[in-house]
């Protein structure tokens, strides 16, 4: 039982580190991006412009945050 709990804990930590790591804003940005993609699915012309912009804005914000931490 303890081994199973330990394995589950390690599995959870792996995904936490993978998804959130030291840049939780990128995880939030990805969720916002997915929400935006579903919102704009019937407006493809707008989505083509807005979706990459959402990514660039969150990337820029995360880099600025990384600079502040450096």
């Amino acid at each position: 039982m303890t081994a199973v709990v330990r394995a589950l804990g390690a599995f959870g930590r792996f995904w936490r580190d993978f998804l959130i790591g030291d840049a939780p804003e990128l995880f939030v940005g990805t969720l916002v991006f997915v929400g935006a993609a579903f919102t704009l699915r019937h407006h493809s012309d707008l989505a083509v412009v807005v979706l990459p912009l959402v990514v660039i804005v969150f990337l820029g914000g995360s880099i600025l945050r990384g600079r502040a931490k450096a």
Binding site: A37, V48, I56
Partner: protein, 277 residues
């Protein structure tokens, strides 16, 4: 072969090569201090486990999960991974984060395994490990060593996990799992052969630029697949991936430039980071 397939193969090859360079540093350190046999066996065992993971997880994913759900989930994972690689690469290129120093990692691992401090080049003098209580050196090719096996296994397994995720996500969502797997394996074999020929870690590989390029490709695939899965109709279909690659490459270059101009650049890091992409 379509343009998106070529970009997919490039992304997998680049990611696998970068991660295998990092793994090779650890494997070489284990081999030099504890013997090549254990290091090679540890590496092969890890590669076998990683390949099993690709088959056990990738094949059912591709066959059982509806394609649109798969593309949204996998696209989101690729986006998280790609943005993280891009963020680190831009911070490193602009001098706000230390470069991944394979020489230092190699020297540290050798020192830990042999119990002796390496010289400034990271080299270990033959016999030094034995004098300091270490168990083996490069002159004991035939012997097995549990520590050497474990260190090599962990090095390859941990570095390979991201490659497995990339292979499964890109391969399953595009229907090219076999191509992605073979490309990753080819990159690992090429890096291993080059590493063996030069007989040490590959510190001259421009890792940061490779990570930046792979980050751009992963981010582009992530944006494309999430959009596709959500129901967005991309103009030009798969060709849009090339447009996204260009857009994110330009964005990453501009962000690197901007970060160099507005932030304090540590001289030592700036000197090693080279010209901007």
């Amino acid at each position: 072969m379509t343009s998106s397939t070529v970009v997919l193969a490039l992304a997998v090859f680049g990611a696998s090569a970068v991660e295998m360079v990092e793994a090779l540093t650890i494997v070489t350190a284990a081999a030099v201090t504890r013997g090549w046999r254990s290091a090679i066996e540890g590496s092969l065992a890890a590669a076998l486990v990683l390949a099993t993971l690709v088959i056990a997880v990738g094949v059912p994913l591709a066959r059982l999960v509806p394609i649109d759900i798969l593309r949204v989930v996998i696209g989101a994972l690729l986006l998280v991974l790609g943005l993280d690689w891009l963020r680190k690469a831009v911070l490193r290129a602009s001098g706000h984060k230390e470069l991944h120093d394979e020489e230092a990692i190699y020297a540290r691992t050798v020192a830990e395994l042999s119990g002796v401090a390496p010289d400034s080049s990271g080299a270990i003098v033959p016999g030094g490990a034995a004098q300091a209580g270490g168990q083996a050196g490069p002159w004991r090719h035939g012997s097995r060593n549990a520590t050497g096996f474990t260190v090599a296994f962990k090095g390859v397994f941990l570095e390979g996990m991201e490659v497995v995720l990339i292979v499964i996500t890109l391969g399953a969502s595009s229907g090219h799992l076999a191509l992605a797997s073979c490309t990753a394996a080819a990159a690992a074999v090429i890096v291993s052969i080059v590493g063996y020929l030069v007989a040490r870690q590959l510190s001259e590989v421009p890792e940061n630029w490779m990570k930046l390029a792979v980050g751009v490709m992963l981010t582009s695939f992530g944006v494309f697949w999430v959009g596709e899965g959500a129901g967005v109709h991309w103009p030009g279909s798969d060709l849009m991936i090339l447009v996204l690659v260009a857009v994110f490459a330009v964005a990453a270059a501009l962000l690197s430039l901007a970060m160099r101009r507005i932030g304090p650049v540590r001289q030592a890091v700036a000197l090693r980071s080279g010209p901007l992409p």
